[in-house]
Subunit: 148 residues, 2 copies
């Protein structure tokens, strides 16, 4: 999976360009992370080998997850997830380690959504549906409380 | 400025533990970043020397900013800002480069706030003041639209 895949939106296409597209991207990436930390947890755990180099957990917009080295080119085109999660694996209780990865991953998902949102203009930032315009941040974050 | 300073809340104390403390931390870090990118921009620009190693822009809870190497220990105790901002400086228009740093910094500020917020429990996440309980995310993000 090359770097362009990490940068892009669903299916390797362009980056999300509306509040709705950003939320879809967020939801897909979140779904990938959730699977890595629940259904696929044995595979995820095994991939986070502390003897390997600095590893990160990526969730992509096609709902796939990957444990991989960080992007080589810096500054990166998107915010990066927490680096070196594998180094903490064997020094902690398994449950605590998974919680640590989950918290860092949640924080990363939010940072990616807000990074994409920075390119929206004044009109893009308002959802046309409600009677009163709603700032993007409220739309994005309120959606966090809706079951995905 | 040692690593414990980066991790901690205002004045090197403990991490913020309520919605209000998290917002204060966010506001102070944001104020630091804003100053680096406006009033102190010449100094900031000069410090981001492309011949140095990977540098990051940190904003701290005492409203100080710093251009520094990333934390050595990984995984870090807090989400890290964009790495290697100095490498992009001379290959871009100055205004575009500052905009790139600003977008990455905004995204980082949000990720730090949400990272701190993950340790709040169900009660902590609701602001007791309003008549109807307001989820933490809405409080934090709505405050982004209030002039700091």
């Amino acid at each position: 999976m090359d770097a362009s895949y990490r940068r892009s939106g669903a299916g390797g296409g362009s980056a999300p360009r509306s509040v709705e597209e950003i939320f879809k991207d967020f939801r897909a990436r979140r779904s990938a992370i959730l699977r890595a930390l629940t259904h696929d947890v044995e595979e995820f755990y095994a991939q986070c080998d502390p003897d390997k180099e600095n590893l990160c957990l990526y969730g992509y917009s096609n709902e796939a997850w990957e444990v991989a080295l960080p992007a080589e080119e810096v500054p990166t085109e998107l915010p990066e997830p927490a680096l070196g999660i594998n180094f903490a694996r064997d020094g902690m209780n398994r449950r605590d380690w998974l919680a640590l990865v989950a918290v860092h991953s949640d924080s990363w998902l939010i940072s990616v959504a807000f990074y994409y949102a920075a390119r929206l203009n004044r009109n893009d930032r308002y959802d046309p549906a409600p009677i009163a315009p709603v700032p993007l941040g409220l739309v994005l974050v309120s959606l966090l409380f809706v079951p995905c």
